[in-house]
Symmetry: C2
Subunit: 276 residues, 2 copies
């Protein structure tokens, strides 16, 4: 009996392999290759340019952790921008907050949005919220054209190669600073401390030269390289470590808790050393 496996070379020397029961979709969009496969271990899997983006079974970790730390740090987030994140998972978490009046999704590849709606409806569910404005646009351009407008900007990018390369550039973080209100917060996914240590060091230093408060935190995502993932926050005024549990507004979650909000900033020594 033959078996079908999805295998991703996460680095030149490391891979993950997942048994699949079905290939649901495959296409070449204007920007990237988009595949959707059904895995036995993690359910439906969205693949962009041969890299795991998200799966039904572990997506909650990434989407909660890229959203709730910043959203619960800001006392009253009304206008939120997600750059990338076409699957809709970050938006789904953001619209859990009643304070949100407008959430803009700036995704460059409209096909990612459509494919996610079709094959990952639980992740894309938030996109139909009336407060959400889905825009198929270049997020870098959008950020550059808006000043002093957003409470929170989430950079939910793919790997720093291909269409997302510019989302890891210092110039982009400067634009984000200007697009944020005077008490705004940005958060970006910043790869694995076991693998992308140079990138983590560089991005942290870049954001730290722009924002008065810079923090790195970690979460466990089994389908991403090494299973350990980092997020970097730049904040103009509010320190995520200073938030009281009583101020945390939304914890209808499967990973995030008020205790997790604090504990994820306690870094293993080798990770803390990357930020020196």
């Amino acid at each position: 009996m033959s078996e079908l496996w999805y295998t991703e070379k996460q680095t030149e020397n490391l891979g993950i392999t997942l048994k699949i029961s079905d290939v649901l979709h495959t296409e070449e969009s204007e920007f990237q290759k988009i595949d959707v496969v059904e895995t036995n271990q993690f359910g439906t899997l969205l693949v962009l340019d041969g890299m795991v983006m998200t799966t039904d079974k572990d997506e909650f970790v990434y989407h909660e952790m890229i959203s709730h730390i910043a959203m619960n740090t800001h006392p009253n987030p009304k206008k939120v921008l997600v750059v990338g994140g076409g699957d809709g998972g970050a938006i789904r978490e953001i619209v859990k907050y009643p304070s949100v009046e407008k959430a803009i999704l700036a995704e460059i590849d409209g096909r990612v949005i459509e494919v996610s709606k079709q094959y990952l409806p639980d992740i894309a569910a938030g996109l139909s919220d009336p407060r959400v404005d889905v825009q198929v646009i270049d997020g870098i351009k959008h950020v550059h054209e808006h000043k002093n407008e957003y409470d929170i900007i989430i950079v939910d990018s793919t790997e720093p190669i291909g269409p997302a390369e510019g989302l890891f550039a210092k110039e982009f973080y400067k634009s984000i600073y200007e697009a944020l209100k005077e008490d705004g917060i940005m958060v970006a996914q910043t790869e694995s401390p076991f693998i992308n240590n140079d990138l983590i060091s560089r991005v942290f230093k870049d954001i730290n030269t722009i924002f008065p408060i810079t923090r790195l935190y970690l979460a466990n995502i089994p389908t991403y390289p090494s299973g350990l993932w980092s997020f970097t926050i730049g904040s103009k005024q509010y320190d995520p470590l200073a938030v009281l549990e009583s101020q945390m507004k939304e914890t209808n979650t499967k990973y995030y808790t008020p205790a997790i909000h604090k504990s994820v900033f306690a870094l293993p020594k080798f990770v803390a050393d990357l930020l020196k």
Copy 2:
């Protein structure tokens, strides 16, 4: 050009694959298949019965985290037992504590010890400490035959199949309770919360019926299934959460820190739910 890869099916549906430059050793011992390969990503890799045991590059996480939480929780650990752990990594961490007068390694398979000494000398280094007593014996039998003797017992086992099956049994934890002094602490590796959730629930409940204080904590180990690993503590008197930073004796480490000592007990909600 051909390439050599080590691929482990971590579950029926999930695998890790590592490019290797060399197969250093392979044998069938009395108890299991032992392989040592040189990987590009993680350095030298020890494989038992086809499962990653430890690698040069990420072993520090597992060995520090199975040792220092308990060792720093106990105010004066003098006599320590490691069941399994033939590579010597846990012993290496234990002998960092000047209070330790005797550390016994009870490893059932002497070949694991010899192979580790030869191919993983940095991990096995602690085995030559004069306070260490290496015994090639059945750890279950050893624990059963000793009463009220140990300050700390570390269960550094392989997966709960094959030679290590008995190391996950409630009867064994009862024997450990009796082998510990009146203020003793046990810690066991208890697999991944993303994959082995039934085992984690069962072991936590078993230990919780025997010990007055039971705690689960987590660490990030890239080469283990899902990258997220759990450890379960049973303690007769000292609560790892009650230790003050000023009481922590040893932090010459690459992962463990006093802040990590606390933060690793903050569990993601889906993990906390496993313990209810």
